[in-house]
């Protein structure tokens, strides 16, 4: 049987150099965005989703675990940060810390439950857990149910950076994204990441080599959930609200779609996928429900004919690992 990420080439010193070059190009492009006239709100939103998709990709691309409930981390961290900022009046950095730690705690609990099964069961369990949280947030008072938490004050990060100014906010979100991206990149290329890949390829063999695979998977799950939560906390400053859409299963589906379009198990694929899907939603916003249909068509097309995704196809063509 071929695994989801069979096509990725083994890492080589050349691959690391390629990836560093692409990373520098990506960072440079993102740094000059405010001077290009591109709507910064769109890019900020895409960056938050790109970080979310990268965190999701850490699990599926390197651990072989397809989570269908990553929206729960995004939404939970969003609600916690929004509540901390608006009701408790905490500063932005403490709000982000609170939201991210909340997502980490959620990762510990849900990870402990869901890694007990693999493959398809893992996907169904994560989906069911996120639906459980959706109903919890629908009923608890602090989330304000269908209305969500609105009008969140942006405040001054570290007492210095005024987040109400779009350009300051942009660079703060960009710094958060690049930081999260580098953490994931470092994880993938660490001994820990290598063990994770070994588990993905052949779990019984990894066990026979003496690795406690459940612990590795749990740590990967917690790390992925924490970074997804970090993306959710950043998104609160961009959108200035936290609502039920961020916890809904459709959001989890969108994250899967972004990563699939960009390329499962590629380093840069989720970033490209997030920009493609968010741009599509922006331009097709007037088409109402047809956006759902188009997303479905992209899913079907990708699975049937385009399983490597954009970056995966490019990497395959040049025989590089990206």
């Amino acid at each position: 049987m071929s695994a989801l990420t069979d096509d990725t080439l083994p890492a080589s010193p050349r691959a690391v150099r390629d990836e560093m070059v692409v990373f520098v190009v990506m960072a440079a492009l993102l740094l000059i965005v405010p001077w290009t006239g591109i709507y910064p709100f769109f890019v900020m939103q895409a960056l938050c989703f790109a970080l979310l998709a990268c965190a999701f990709n850490l699990l599926i691309g390197y651990g072989g675990l397809l989570s269908f409930g990553h929206a729960m981390f995004l939404g939970t961290a969003g609600y916690l940060t929004a509540h901390a900022l608006k009701v408790w009046g905490l500063s932005p950095e403490l709000g982000i810390l609170f939201g991210t730690l909340g997502a980490a705690a959620l990762g510990v609990i849900t990870g402990y439950v869901s890694i007990r099964r693999q493959g398809i069961y893992f996907s169904m369990i994560t989906l069911a857990l996120s639906q459980l949280l959706f109903f919890v947030y629908l009923q608890t008072p602090f989330t304000h149910g269908e209305d969500g938490i609105q009008g969140i004050p942006q405040g001054y990060l570290f007492g210095v950076f005024n987040l109400a100014k779009p350009i300051t906010l942009y660079y703060v979100v960009l710094a958060g994204f690049l930081g999260g991206f580098l953490i994931i990149y470092r994880t993938i290329n660490s001994p820990f990441g290598e063990v994770l890949k070994a588990i993905r390829e052949n779990e019984p063999r990894a066990i026979s080599l003496g690795y406690k695979t459940d612990q590795y998977k749990l740590v990967a799950f917690i790390l992925s959930g924490t970074l997804a939560g970090f993306a959710g906390s950043l998104k609160v400053f961009v959108a200035q609200n936290a609502s039920l859409t961020d916890v809904h299963w459709t959001m989890s589906g969108e994250v899967v779609l972004m990563t699939l379009v960009g390329g499962l198990g590629t380093v840069f694929g989720p970033v490209v996928g997030a920009f493609v899907i968010i741009a599509m939603q922006q331009y097709l916003a007037g088409f109402g429900q047809w956006v759902t249909v188009i997303q479905g068509v992209i899913f079907v097309t990708c699975v049937l004919t385009f399983r490597r995704g954009v970056i995966g196809e490019i990497a395959h063509y040049f025989r590089r690992s990206l």
Partner: protein, 287 residues
């Protein structure tokens, strides 16, 4: 006590739908190794099919009960022939992603034409009214749904576990190559199996139309609950799916009476508890 019995009945009805849907999922998973995310969308199509039959051709509930599963079953077989069969040999997760895409397409198209509100579908004349059982008032239609679903579930169990066709099917699940060598057309059997599973979903859709109204998203949230049911019961045994489906419906009904706030979440909480105690599910084998 009246309210308790009423909630128990609602629980049994929901349990019937859980049983019919998780049964279909289990049958499909056995043959195709695919978790059919489109199951909820196809359940919804069953209900819409009954609605169209009534309003476009004037055919009522009874013909719809037979025609809708066949029509939706054929639609499912076309999906299997044109798309799902190309996933043979790939990771199971691609099947999940593909059928998720199909569900988005189907639900999106219906939402576009019918919005999100419900369309009414009348209870057939023969099943209108109710009877007094002494301890509670039983609406006849609701009793009919429970009894009829139970019969269909047991008939499916009999078909798969006790007939020659079912024996071939189970053999093909274990070792398709060997069964093909015996001259049995396994690809055709796979297509028919998918059609059967989808037909069961459509049948559940028709049964639910008079109770829950016909809505484009009626299957979207239901399918996630059914996934939890499948995780709890395991997909190893047909009878296991049926019993777990009905049992969870009843537990949900009891929760609605004793602690309504938790009625949405009780199945998911039970799933967590089962995973902590017995990760393979109640009837499942290690996968």
């Amino acid at each position: 006590m009246q309210a308790l019995y009423a909630q128990l009945l609602v629980g049994l009805i929901n349990g019937s739908f859980y049983a019919l849907l998780s049964l279909g999922l289990a049958v499909i998973f056995g043959m195709l190794n695919i978790i059919n995310f489109a199951h909820g969308a196809l359940y919804m199509m069953g209900a819409f099919c009954a609605y169209f039959l009534l309003h476009l051709t004037g055919l009522g509930y009874w013909p719809a009960l037979i025609i809708a599963p066949i029509v939706v079953g054929i639609f499912g077989m076309i999906l299997e022939r044109t798309m799902l069969q190309w996933l043979t040999g790939l990771d199971h997760l691609y099947g999940l992603l593909l059928t998720f895409g199909i569900a988005l397409i189907v639900q999106g198209v219906f939402q576009n034409y019918f919005g999100s509100s419900g369309l009414p579908y009348a209870i057939p004349d023969e099943l209108k009214g109710g009877m007094n059982l002494g301890f509670m008032f039983l609406p006849i239609y609701r009793g009919w749904v429970v009894v009829f679903s139970l019969i269909v579930c047991i008939a499916t169990w009999y078909l798969i576990e006790k007939t020659r066709l079912g024996a071939n099917l189970r053999a093909a699940t274990e070792n398709p190559t060997l069964v093909r060598a015996f001259g049995i057309n396994v690809p055709r059997m796979i297509t028919l199996t998918y059609g059967l599973g989808v037909g069961l979903a459509a049948l559940a859709g028709v049964l639910s139309a008079p109770i829950n109204q016909v809505r484009p998203l009626m299957g979207a949230d239901l399918i996630i609950v059914v996934f939890a049911v499948v995780v709890i019961g395991g997909m190893g045994s047909i009878m296991g799916s049926i019993i777990t489906g009905f049992a969870l419906g009843v537990i949900e009904g009891l929760t609605k009476y004793f602690y309504p706030e938790a009625s949405n979440t009780v199945v998911f909480v039970l799933m967590v508890l089962v995973l902590l105690v017995k990760p393979t599910g109640l009837t499942g084998r290690a996968a």
